[in-house]
Amino acid sequence: MLTAPDDLIQLLTHEGKRVTHPDFSLDISDDEIRALYRDLFLVRRFDNEATALQRQGELALWAQCQGQEAAQIGAGRALSAGDFVFPSYREHGIAWTRGVDPVQILGMFRGTTNGGWDPYAHNFGLYTVVIGNQCLHAVGYAMAGLRENAGDVVLTCFGDGGSNQGDVSEAFVFAGVYNAPVVFLCQNNQYAISEPNTRQMRVPIYQRSSGFGFPGYRVDGNDVLAMFAVMRFAYEHARSGNGPVLVEAFTYRIGNHTTSDDATRYRDAAEVEYWKERDPILRVKRYLDSVKTPQSFFDEVEAAAEELAVRIRSGARQLADPTLDEMFTNVYSQPHPLVQQEHQEMTEYFAQFGGMQSPHSEGGH
């Protein structure tokens, strides 16, 4: 059974005790920790709400981030406003820290869009489904930043399995050669769908970067304080011209890979239980209790979560299907005769039936 190794950078144990680390320290107030707790708690609620919406048939699919909230909130909250993020498809927590409306994130899972938000309004790129593609975009975006002396850094996320795609290694090469201000965050949630780390790598992934010429760190990804501290260091390292950094957040995917998955086919309940005990939110709660946080705080957070849930439920149901015209828009930014012709043909075609019908899809998986 997979347990947590002891070489992880940690500042908050799963019992909720703050500990020190020789290389990384964090000067943070309890109020600031409460703010992080709030993030963690609300993102968890968002995630659970989305999972429920999928069960109710409001979403076609959902990729849960349960268990990875600390890695994402730590990474997201340590960013500066001008920094840019190139996520994978499970970074709901980071999206939250960038101010992306959770409802917008549901669009692609409901099937109303392939994207859902304006990357530039939040400095948060669209989710990338083709594993690894986004890492190269991050490096290119940073290379452009160097030409603008922008002074910002770029964060990109990938998974333990994704680390093996050629694109990710090539991103390491380019980031290294150009000393690009990119921080690579690998959320090692122990599984690539059903495949454990043992099928994906011979040595821990944080070691991968050294042969490309930049450092790698392995952090307790369920420890929001350690994640915040290490990511803040990594961003500063890159921002000050020292080049890229790889951070492995050692965490665990509590839920299924997606709502289409059945994790019981490939892992034991005992393992999941072990990791639930190391839950990233639970340990912060334990700490906050140990410092006598008033119940009123937790009540307020619970109330905010309930409010968020309501807003997500109604928002999700209101996500509208694209119209036929919208479907034909933005294939190109300038007119394209073939697209225009097919647009006209389909418009005339559907006119016979009084416009495009409502969707019906066979099967489903």
């Binding site: 899972f109 083709v130 769908i193 299907d321 039936f353 099967g363």
Partner: protein, 331 residues
């Protein structure tokens, strides 16, 4: 005899192929314990072990590239690409190596490998999970590209494809994985005298005289439904199931069109530069004087595969096919 879904039919076909030849190795993301995201390989790792059913690192070029190396040593890798949209990282290996090794080596190297790709839309999936990239591969000499339309063909064709010495791209119509049929699942198809000799023949799925509907994979069923509907309007449509795109059985297509004089080709891939264009061009050249109407095409639209909630407007369906049939009949 047993009632099997297409997914189960392929699963059973794979089992026969693995029993028949110890050199058959399955490789693909999550095909082991999980049995693949569509469960097509369900139970096979438990039965044959993880040296025969491999769930490799997450890297398609790596999977296809190492499969090429295994095939060079006389093994018969059967690769599963999880979804159509994820075959592109392996495109270089497929186009530059899988398709060309035999020619480059003057026949010394034979790559007896199969690349299985669940493809097509209609299942309400997110982006990259509903594409139909078959034209890219059919345009690439050195590959054989086939696609079953029903469970029985799926059961037989997968066994024949694995036994065939050339590399085969095996497109599985994922929206039809749950279609059922009665199959004698006890037979190892390669025990039959005909072996794989008919693997690339088209099939007349429905006899007709007024117009020929040509399709493959997921659209064959849709065409049959269209033909049934047309019959009520007194139209007698012939439906051809191509089964193979390269080689493509033009003999059967031409024979049918010579009879009907009219043809509509249907596929999910975008019409522009799709496989339907080749069929239309070649048939028109061969049947110039017998065509009573131009070959019409009903196909996907020229755009990235759209959001699932509007994919029904992107995909050919019964109504759009009948609409084209009416147009063709008006000539």
């Amino acid at each position: 005899m047993a009632t099997l879904t297409m997914a189960k039919a392929i699963n059973t076909g794979l089992r026969h192929a693995m029993k028949r030849d110890d050199k058959v190795v399955l490789m693909g993301e999550d095909i082991g314990k999980l049995g693949g995201v569509f469960r097509v390989t369900d139970g096979l790792q438990a039965e044959f072990g993880d040296m025969r059913v491999v769930d490799p690192p997450l890297a398609e070029s790596g999977i296809v590239g190492t499969a090429v190396g295994m095939a060079m040593r006389g093994w018969r890798p059967v690769v599963e690409i999880q979804f159509d949209g994820f075959v592109y990282p392996a495109f270089d290996q497929i186009v530059s190596q899988v398709a060309k090794q035999h020619y480059r080596s003057a026949g010394k190297t034979t790559l007896s490998m199969v690349i299985r790709i669940p493809y097509g839309g209609g299942i309400g999936a997110i982006e990259h999970h509903s594409e139909s990239p078959e034209a890219y591969f059919a345009h690439t000499a050195g590959l054989r590209v086939i696609s079953p339309a029903n469970p029985i063909d799926a059961y037989e064709m997968i066994q024949q494809a694995i036994a065939h010495p050339d590399p085969v791209i095996f497109f599985e119509p994922k929206r039809r994985y749950w279609d059922k049929a009665e199959i004698d699942d006890s037979v190892d198809v390669m025990d039959r005298p005909e072996g794989y000799s008919q693997l690339f023949d088209a099939r007349i799925a429905r006899e007709g005289s007024d117009l020929t509907l040509v399709a493959y994979g997921p659209m064959v069923k849709t065409c049959l439904e269209a033909a049934a509907a047309a019959a009520n309007e007194g139209l007698n449509l012939e439906v051809l199931d191509l089964r193979s795109l390269t080689p493509l059985d033009f003999e059967t297509v031409v024979r049918s069109v010579t009879k009907t004089g009219r043809m509509v080709v249907v596929h999910e891939a975008p019409q522009f530069a799709g496989i339907g264009a080749e069929i239309a061009a070649r048939v028109t050249e061969k049947c110039f004087w017998t065509m009573q109407a131009p070959v019409l095409r009903v196909a996907g639209l020229y755009m990235p595969y759209p959001a699932a909630r509007v994919e029904h407007a992107f995909l050919p369906d019964l109504d759009r096919i009948l609409d084209a049939v009416d147009k063709a009949m008006e000539y």
